[in-house]
């Protein structure tokens, strides 16, 4: 049981992680209706406003340096990735704090045979489930809008899920250490919203000043939007896509390791 900090974190016992996932699915039964409605209405609103509405302006004036591409085709995969990130923020903050402090279910789990890797993995699996529902709904609605030029868009679903997970893993590591939810609204205001606006969702980051563009490259969301965009437009380069994938995976693995550390600190004191 001696681990160095560089060791790959344990994923936990699979059946125990699934048991933890089962808890989250059961709790989700209570709210799935409203969340399903949101999952379908959100893309309608965004694609309607940005793709069809704003897009008609952009496309007429050939503004934004998009060349022949319609704005709808450009923005749809960006919003797909951005929405996954937003969903990751809401799934990885309040419910985490609640599980440790309010209903305390994490403590109940810790008293059972579940280990910290089981608890973390189980919760992340549920977040993956939620992200998948959202991404599938988005791609279905987007297809109705005619937003995707390539059948490769099917792979944009896992790409968007991975984008969400790359945010969720470090976020749960942070959220579990909080004593109140005040930090979460700050996080939404000062991290999530700027990311959503500037990390390649609505316009190419090349439009940004060089220093800001460099910052955008560092964000996992930019890699997510690029990956999804390449797949949905069918012009993904292999090397570039693998690069984005690896970068996102680094955030997932790093976030997971951090999560294990902070879960242990907070739940096994």
């Amino acid at each position: 049981m001696t681990t160095t900090t560089l060791k790959v974190p344990p994923l936990g016992d699979f059946s125990r992680s699934m048991a933890a996932l089962e808890y989250w699915l059961r709790a989700y039964r209570r709210t799935w209706r409203s969340s399903a409605v949101t999952a379908f209405v959100m893309p309608l609103v965004f694609l309607g406003a940005f793709g069809a509405g704003l897009g008609s302006l952009v496309d007429t004036d050939r503004a934004g340096g998009l060349g022949d591409v319609s704005y709808l085709a450009f923005v749809a995969p960006g919003i797909l990735a951005g929405a996954a990130m937003q969903s990751a923020f809401s799934e990885s903050t309040w419910p985490i704090l609640s599980s440790r402090k309010w209903n305390g279910h994490y403590h109940a789990q810790a008293a059972s045979p579940l280990t910290m890797p089981d608890i973390v993995t189980g919760h992340l699996l549920f977040i993956v489930f939620r992200l998948t529902l959202g991404a599938v709904a988005f791609v279905l609605i987007g297809a109705l809008f005619g937003a995707f030029g390539s059948a490769w868009v099917v792979l944009a679903v896992p790409a968007a899920v991975l984008t969400g997970l790359a945010h969720a893993a470090p976020l749960i590591a942070f959220a579990v250490t909080r004593e109140s939810d005040t930090d979460f609204s700050m996080l939404v205001r000062f991290v999530m919203t700027p990311l959503f606006l500037f990390a390649g969702t609505f316009f190419p980051v090349s439009q940004l000043p060089a220093a800001v563009e460099f910052l955008a490259w560092l964000t996992p969301l930019w890699h997510g939007t690029q990956l999804c965009r390449g797949l949905s437009m069918g012009d993904a380069g292999l090397l570039g896509s693998v690069g984005h994938l690896v970068y996102l995976l680094v955030w997932v693995v790093g976030g997971y390791a951090l999560a294990l550390r902070s879960y242990r600190k907070m739940l096994l004191s």
Partner: protein, 356 residues
């Protein structure tokens, strides 16, 4: 460590890696205990009836020592109690026993296994009723059980069957499909106990099972716990109610400031640390020292305690004392003769009242 070879399944454990579990000679000096402690390892190895064994168990939070080197052995089928006031270190001890809190120092084995290495295997054989219920209030009563049973690797059908059985045991069958939120405190407590029993544990850990409940709800709970004991479940509980300790515990330790200050059955403790009877005397005023000084009880009083609101006179003959007090010039408001209780033991041992 002890018994690692008998671990049922290999596990990736989630406990911190930086905790060292060291053996050390306990600093307590009561000869028999210390001698047994030194012989500890071979003895528990050969005595499968000792389910929980701790030596020099210590928990520190920063500089603060919450549990200060305690030694305990709990045997199969026993009802073992930790009696102590707020902050005595009861919950900290229970969390270490529950394998959710790494030891700062000392050694601990459960079922002959080491919590650090075999946490999941040990926890699979424990039932835990924490001080706070930790129920999911939005799920139904039954769902709370169904979800929890799955954590122990039980199949859905087994869990469903056990849930029904436990709901009957906890007298919650008619509330099975109601959300937890509107239940009374006593019902929630019973549900927490039912949940802790979902894996048919060999040891049930109960941290203040009845604190905050009304007397009737407490009696219902005691009755359920008594039945569990009859069925052979080993009970380990904490309480700061002496009546609870007397009702439920075969053997208990009195804890104060992180240390064990006495150990024995409730009866033994009372015989060892208190007199047969106690006379409680109240006066119209609360300046009690002069009242004590003017009483002339001779050999009748073994000890007199001055509490904020009354005098406690420890004696082998309560009636004789009560006659003298009644006839004393200071005219008490009330004189009550009663049997000694664990409360008196605690007062004698620590100079403080449990309730305070």
């Amino acid at each position: 460590m002890i018994g690692r070879a008998s671990v049922p399944r290999s596990t990736t454990e989630g406990e911190p890696d930086d905790v060292t579990v060291r053996k050390r000679v306990p600093h307590r000096t009561d000869g028999g205990e210390a001698a047994r402690a030194r012989a500890h390892q071979p003895e528990t190895d050969s005595d499968p009836d000792v389910l929980i064994s701790a030596r020099g168990l210590t928990k520190e939070f920063g500089d603060f020592v919450a549990v200060d080197g305690i030694d305990i052995d709990v045997r199969r089928g026993e009802a073992f109690g930790f009696l102590g006031p707020n902050g005595a270190g009861k919950s900290s001890t229970m969390r270490m026993i529950g394998c959710v809190s790494p030891l700062t120092e000392g050694s601990l084995t459960l079922f002959g296994m080491d919590p650090e290495a075999d946490g999941p295997a040990i926890r699979g054989r424990l039932g835990v009723v924490p001080q706070k219920d930790l129920l999911d209030e939005e799920l139904t009563v039954r769902e709370n059980l169904l979800v929890y049973g799955r954590y122990f690797g039980l199949s859905r059908s087994v869990v469903a069957g056990r849930a029904d059985e436990l709901l009957r045991f906890a007298q919650l069958s008619d509330r099975a499909d109601s959300p937890v939120e509107p239940l009374s405190g006593g019902m929630k407590r019973r549900l927490t106990i039912a949940r802790a029993l979902i894996n048919a544990p060999e040891i049930l850990l109960l941290d203040e099972p009845t604190t905050g409940l009304d007397p009737q709800a407490r009696h219902v709970l005691w009755d359920r716990l008594y039945r569990l004991k009859q069925q052979g479940v080993t009970l380990v509980l904490t309480t700061h109610y002496m009546d609870e300790a007397e009702q439920l515990c075969d053997r208990l330790v009195v804890m104060d400031g992180g240390r064990i200050v006495a150990e024995g059955s409730p009866r033994e403790l009372i015989e060892r640390y208190s007199s047969r009877e106690v006379v409680e005397v109240r006066y119209p005023d609360f300046d009690l020292e002069p009242h004590r000084d003017q009483l002339d009880l001779g050999d009748l009083a073994e000890r007199v305690e001055v509490l904020p609101d009354r005098l406690l006179i420890y004696t082998h003959d309560g009636d004789a004392v009560s006659r003298i007090v009644d006839q004393s010039p200071d005219r008490p408001v009330s004189v009550l003769v009663r049997r000694s209780s664990l409360e008196d033991v605690f007062l004698q041992l620590t100079g403080r009242s449990l309730a305070g």
